[in-house]
Amino acid sequence: MTYTAWIILTAALVGLSCGVIGVFLILRKTAMMADAISHTVLLGIVIAYIITREVSGTAMLIGGILAGVFTAFLVQWLHSLRVQHDAAMGIVFTTLFAIGVILIATSVGNAHLDVQHALMGEITFIPFHMITLPIIGAIPEATALLLLVLAVILFFIIAFYKEWKITSFDPALAASLGIPVILMHYLFMGLVSVTTVASFDAVGAIMVVAMLITPAASAYLWTDKLSFMLVLSGSFGVVSAVAGYYIAAWIDTSISGSMAFATGLVFMISFIFSPKHGLISRRVRPAETM
């Protein structure tokens, strides 16, 4: 495959994984948790790097998952001590992120891991790190990681589809049915962290929030059916990722920034034209009923 094809494939995979997992972020009303986790994952990656002294996918993935789940745990713990939920999030993620930046500035100081890169991602470097897999052949490491993560996400969503549905819409009912709601919460936070780590190389810490929340929020305006929303959100993610790449190529600017911007365009279109919840239909409908 050519250089550009790899980049587009990687971007599309980011859009797909983030779009699918983002649906549950919106439904569980924990969208800002994505913001918190995407920041603290940086700390996990830095610590993994300091321990292993190499930029390896597996170590970063483990570090990122641990950091993400740790964040979720700290937020929950502070909340149980009566700190307002969003304040708890704000304290935890800014502090852990600050520690991550300080560690990079003081003890890493290396071209492989700089803050700039972590915040903005550098998708153009991805095709330079190729690995060889048994059946598929040569594939960029980040792309292989994304494929693996996508498989994991899809496995968990499909295997526990009913449980996710009930815990997301009615946690009290789920608890009364004997579904382990708290375990599901941490499992979900783990999945969000995995997705964030895998997307990190491509879009960076902050733009991944756009990829996680916006396609799902757009899909939420089009449909009331969970399965349809998952498909729609994944497609919106892919469309924005690919469109973002072409916008960036067109005006020669940051690819990750353009991808975030493209998700905004998708949302704007949904916000205006959605048949159920769009601006136009809201304006037209009262006239129809008269």
Partner: protein
């Protein structure tokens, strides 16, 4: 250490981060009681495109112009969050997350273009993302000081009105206070505090300056007035200490150190604070347990 203080520029920077900490600590208490802690995070990210557009328009790094750009952009962000939340079924935190990330992404697009153009890279525009207080010159410091003092002054003179607005909106309306006017003023003050802090702390960590001192202060008092005072002191101390630490090494970012010092205050307050601090809660629990046990014993002896 002394040589750092004697270096006149560091002295000025120290003064400005301290004043910023005081202003942010003060406004943070209001955001805390409005339950809008993460709003500051969304708005500081949303300020980025405004900073870059202002820079592209004037072609140099004039802090006042950049601050105006940032404020306009953050206000648009605030308006969009409000609009999306009221006009659709998207919840407020989803709207905040979207505005935060999309504005930031747009800002990065523009920043890449600005850095490509002549002089953009040397202007230190990148410092805006994670804060580089050491890069501030004296005029920047004066701009910041004046704006921060205005913010603190507005809170100070209208203290009674703010209190009514935050704790009993209905009553405030009843005595003829315009809630809409207070809301506008609150947003203006919040956005001003955020944008003056961006240069020193960076867009990503600015939220911490508002959230952490306020929550820490909550552990020491039940009075709103004392809470604001304490929060301002925590913020000011964190600003000054963090700046000093980052001045010890060369090229260390200021923002993260300020945040970590602030987090230190938070942990101390969380453990030792006299209102629902962990230690106090634990001691009370133990005392209660002991009282129960002795009660049970006396009952047994009597029986």
């Amino acid at each position: 250490m002394l040589s750092i203080l004697l270096n006149s520029n560091t002295g000025w920077v120290l003064l400005s981060t301290m004043t910023l900490g005081i202003a942010a600590g003060t406004i943070g208490c209001m955001a805390y009681w409005k339950r809008q802690n993460l709003m500051s995070d969304a708005l500081s990210h949303a300020a980025l495109p405004g900073v870059v557009i202002a820079f592209l328009l004037i072609g140099e790094k004039n802090l006042l112009i950049l601050i105006i750009g940032a404020a306009i952009s953050a206000l648009i962000g605030a308006f969009l969050i409000q609009w999306i939340t009221t006009a659709s079924r998207i919840s407020e935190d989803s709207a905040m997350g979207m505005v935060l990330a999309i504005f930031y992404g747009f800002g990065i697009m523009l920043l890449t273009i600005a850095n490509r153009s002549a002089g953009g890279n040397q202007s230190g525009l990148d410092g805006f993302i994670y804060g580089q207080a050491a890069a501030m010159v004296r005029t920047d410091v004066i701009t910041m000081l004046v704006l921060a003092l205005i913010v603190v002054f507005i809170v100070f003179i209208g203290f009674k009105e703010w209190k009514l607005y935050l704790f009993d909106g209905q009553f405030a309306k009843g005595i003829g206070l315009s809630l809409k006017g207070m809301n506008t003023l609150y947003t203006a003050v919040l956005v001003t505090t955020i944008v003056i802090g961006i240069q020193a702390v960076g867009v990503i960590l600015m939220a911490a300056m508002l959230i952490i001192p306020a929550v820490s202060a909550r552990y020491w008092t039940q009075s709103f007035k004392v809470m604001i005072l304490l929060s301002a002191i925590f913020g000011g101390l964190a600003g000054a200490t963090g700046t000093l630490i980052s001045a010890l090494g060369s090229g260390l970012p200021t923002g993260p150190f300020i945040v970590v010092v602030g987090a230190g205050f938070f942990v101390i307050s969380l453990v030792l604070g006299k209102e629902k601090g962990i230690l106090i809660n634990y001691l009370q629990f133990k005392l209660h347990q002991k009282a129960q046990q002795s009660n049970a014993q006396t009952l047994k002896q009597e029986g």
